[in-house]
């Protein structure tokens, strides 16, 4: 049986990993949109400006979800519709999966002993921890976007 503090820093280290993973996912999506915007106008400046804009959006999003967690009710902001649960994994009929090239593979394709150490799923955390993780991920992503916009010369 794990002592409480050992269990505490296990969750802390895993939530740090999930924050890193989530913020990178957000960053990926944001970068694609900014690149598409930059590409559309054929100018690197527009890419940098959209990076800053994305940074601003994530900053606001992270901050307002923090406020929402601490009980501020914004009039008119309804809650997200609950996603319809899909068929549980154990009842699904397993399709024959086509081979994917190695670098397109994700943790789901490897069924080995490393999965527990390389993958953090959101089910591990209860609701409040999860929201805290998402807030920190958004703020981290916004910081990354602003930093990138400073690095890239145009």
């Amino acid at each position: 049986m794990m002592q409480p503090d050992e269990e505490l820093n296990r969750t802390k280290s895993r939530s740090r990993r999930l924050i890193y993973a989530l913020s990178m996912r957000y960053l990926g999506i944001a970068l694609v949109c900014c690149a598409a915007a930059g590409g559309a106008f054929r100018s690197r400046m527009y890419f940098v400006f959209s990076l800053c804009a994305a940074g601003g959006i994530f900053l606001a999003w992270g901050w307002f979800s923090y406020l929402a967690v601490t009980g501020l009710k914004v009039p008119g902001a309804g809650s997200l519709p609950k996603a319809r649960p899909d068929v549980p994994y154990s009842l699904r009929q397993k399709k024959r999966r086509w081979q994917k090239p190695a670098f397109a593979r994700t943790d789901a394709d490897f069924e080995d002993d490393l999965t527990a150490r390389t993958h953090v799923s959101e089910g591990e955390f209860d609701e409040l921890q999860l929201r805290a993780v998402r807030i920190r991920a958004r703020l981290l992503c916004s910081a990354a976007l602003f930093a990138l916009s400073l690095i890239i010369r145009y």
Binding site: A37, M45, Y46, V48, F49, S50, C52, A53, G55, G56, I57, L59, A60, W63, F64, L67, T70, G71, L72, V74, P75, F146, S149, L150
Partner: protein, 312 residues
């Protein structure tokens, strides 16, 4: 208690800053063509435009532009309008227009609250009788029918019956009555509907039944207990409503040709005046945030429960 308010105030200040930054960064994505004064638009070649933009500082990094804008703001300089009111500093522009819209807004809000609450109470009092049905029809009319239609009828008929002037004149107060009434109609309907629904819900709550058992007559219970509880959510909404007044109502200000800030944003966008758009959008964003937080603070005073559960 004061520590709680201080923390809440600080947090709302931080929110304002964050919203300001986010909106400012988004505004950087406005099309570049919106930055040229009218005489520049005709010149076709790219080079001079780029040079113009560069020395305007519009090509610098957004963060740099943010710093410059904030710096100017503290000196009261919000930049100059380009196409809508060429060369006019935006600060003075706003100083003129805001008081007009504010006056109308404030008046209509007062009327809205007084008549709205009155109508709401009236409808609850005569629930499911003629009065209630009449009130519901009015609310339905105001909320469902697009405002342009019923405002147009008001302007044509009512002005004829009470021969009130159609257009707004700064010096003749008689011409203020009609726009204020039109403006207040929607808030009356809102408050009445909301109050009625709240009072009806609260009626079958336990504390109301318990009070009746104690022998208080229904009217007394409604007035003393239920209305007091209804006040809290109402109060939260008022500051937000208050600040939206400055945004003004586009429809009424165009109908009655009131020189307020109502239509300013749409005209600015149509004539691609980025500086003006930028300031107005920032103003709206900041006002709505302050509105939400003022409501939040007000609740702290009114709602006893908040005092007990200190902090979040």
């Amino acid at each position: 208690m004061s520590r709680y308010i201080l923390r809440r105030a600080l947090r709302s200040l931080l929110t304002v800053v964050i919203v300001f930054v986010a909106v400012f960064m988004l505004l950087r994505l406005m099309p570049l063509s919106g930055y040229f004064p009218p005489e520049m638009i005709k010149e076709a070649d790219e080079a001079t435009r780029m040079v113009y933009l560069r020395n305007q500082g519009l090509l610098d990094h957004p963060m740099v532009q943010l710093g410059r804008f904030v710096g100017n703001m503290f000196h009261g300089d919000l930049g100059r309008s380009l196409t809508v009111y060429p060369k006019v500093p935006i600060a003075t522009l706003l100083k003129e227009k805001i008081p007009v819209t504010a006056a109308f807004g404030f008046a209509s809000m007062l009327i809205g609250i007084v008549f709205g609450v009155g109508l709401g109470l009236f409808m609850v009092r005569f629930k499911d009788k003629a009065g209630d049905k009449l009130g519901t029809v009015f609310i339905l009319l105001v909320r469902a029918v697009p405002s342009l239609i019923y405002l147009f009828f008001i302007q044509v008929w009512i002005s004829k019956w009470f021969n009130l002037p159609l257009i707004f004149y700064k010096d003749r107060p008689i011409s203020w009555i009609l726009p204020t009434i039109c403006l207040s109609l929607s808030s009356i309907a809102y408050y009445a509907l909301w109050l009625r629904r709240f009072m009806v819900d609260e009626e079958n709550q336990d504390y109301v039944k318990f009070a009746q058992v104690k022998g208080l007559p229904k009217r007394e219970v409604l007035k003393r207990h239920v209305f007091k509880n209804a006040a809290i959510p109402l109060i939260i909404y008022i500051p937000y409503d208050l600040l939206m007044i400055i945004a003004g109502s586009l429809v009424i200000e165009t109908l009655y040709a009131i020189p307020g800030t109502g239509g300013l944003l749409t005209t600015a966008i149509k004539s691609q005046d980025n500086n003006l758009v930028q300031v107005i959008v920032l103003m709206y964003a900041i006002l709505s945030v302050i509105g939400v937080f003022l409501g939040d603070l007000l609740v702290a005073f009114v709602d006893p429960r908040i005092k007990l559960t200190e902090g979040e």
